[in-house]
């Protein structure tokens, strides 16, 4: 069926794109900081909450991307992964609309609305 194939494609594109971005970012981070490979202690240091230096706002990610920082690219990949299910819901709205299945257009739109609302609540709280 066409609908299934399209949803499946959306998911696959999301997965492959985020995977490549994460891997690319990791490689760049290691190239910039070769000491991560030689000393595991440096790497352990990165996973401690004390130094909360990795990007976690959209603006941080953007400035990091502009200066080609590996960390920011990894985060971009992770964000692409998070966005994939949202894109899947959005695409299914269009599919149900095309089938003329209004009940499901309403159901799916409500799901998307709740999802976006949760992002809003998240960034406010």
């Amino acid at each position: 069926m066409r609908a299934e194939r399209l949803i499946s494609t959306v998911l696959r594109v999301g997965v492959i794109a985020s995977l490549t971005t994460i891997l690319l970012g990791t490689v760049i981070a290691f190239v910039h900081h070769p000491e991560y490979v030689t000393s595991p202690r440096q790497l352990v240091h990165l996973s401690r909450p004390s130094d909360n230096s990795f990007p976690h706002t959209l603006r941080d990610v953007l400035t990091g991307l502009l200066s080609l920082r590996g960390q920011a690219i990894v985060v971009l990949g992770l964000l692409m992964l998070i966005a994939t299910p949202v894109a899947r819901v959005a695409v299914s709205i269009l599919l149900f609309l095309e089938e003329g299945d209004l009940t499901y257009v309403a159901i799916t739109s409500t799901v998307l609305g709740l999802l976006l609302l949760s992002f809003f609540v998240g960034s406010a709280g």
Binding site: S8, T108, T110, L114
Partner: protein, 267 residues
């Protein structure tokens, strides 16, 4: 480790978070905050990685997933509001008991398959939820009917609240709800749950990201490993029988409920 988590997670319709969190904290001594952040990402990775094939093979029921996602996202929002206002300890105790009970229920009906007396299902009829899947084991097309949609919706709302509160995908609650209450075949329950948990987890992932709980150097490698595991797991599910999947699920469910009870007792 991440590959194993993704494999098991995609096979059973769980997020794999139940494996990622203890493994990261116990073996790699990573802070629990980052472990949970990485686990949320791994839930999405499992879901997307496996759903690619489940949707194409029509093992996941998209209509059922959409209807139930109404309840889970609404639940997740409620959970986010309630977070911090409820004793987490009691939550762990309650869900430990609920999961132990549903694992016993599922174990009892381990040998029954789709055969079940058809019951009247006006909601499922109206929403056209009934469907079929091709069983690759036997090559037959297996028709199944969905029933008790409203019960399923209520259970999914609860599952959504739990994932909003505890930051888990809560596939461990979704699969029994579809398998026991709504009468979906086990493999379809697992595949559909897998398809759904991505959306539930995406709802909480935004919150965790804004809080700075998603560390690229912890979550990045975990996501990559889980993705590979999920793709492998989704290939495997087609070849297994419903009862084999159910039995594995029961074992994992018992383990999870034990862990939850322990955390509840320790406080």
């Amino acid at each position: 480790m991440s590959v194993a988590a993704g494999l098991l997670g995609s096979l059973l319709g769980l997020g794999g978070g139940i494996i990622v969190v203890p493994a990261l904290t116990l073996w790699f001594h990573i802070d629990i905050r980052y472990a949970i952040g990485a686990s949320i990402v791994s839930v999405i990775a499992t879901s997307c990685g496996a759903a690619v094939s489940y949707v194409r093979e029509r093992l996941a029921n998209i209509r059922v997933a959409m209807v139930l996602e109404l309840a889970t996202t609404a639940g997740a929002l409620t959970g986010a509001f309630l977070a911090g206002r409820l004793g987490v300890r009691w939550l762990f105790l309650i869900f430990g008991v609920v999961m132990a009970y549903s694992s016993i229920l599922m174990f009892r009906r381990r040998d029954q398959d789709v055969t079940r007396a058809p019951r009247r299902a006006p909601w499922a009829d109206r929403l056209r939820l009934h469907s079929s899947y091709i069983d690759q084991e036997s090559g037959e097309e297996i028709l199944y009917r969905v029933s008790r949609t409203r019960v399923g919706l209520v259970l999914m709302y609860v599952a959504g609240v739990v994932s909003g509160l505890l930051g888990i995908g809560s596939g461990a609650l979704k699969v029994p709800a579809m398998d026991i209450a709504m009468g979906l075949p086990m493999k379809v329950s697992s595949a559909t749950s897998n398809f759904m948990i991505g959306v539930t987890a995406a709802a909480s992932a935004g919150v965790y990201f804004a809080r700075g709980d998603i560390d690229p150097f912890v979550a990045g490698p975990v996501a990559v490993g889980v993705l590979f595991g999920a793709v492998l797991g989704s290939r495997l599910l087609h070849r297994l029988s419903n009862s084999a999947v159910r039995l594995t699920f029961v074992l994992v469910l018992l383990w999870v409920s034990g862990q939850m009870l322990l955390r509840g007792i320790r406080g």
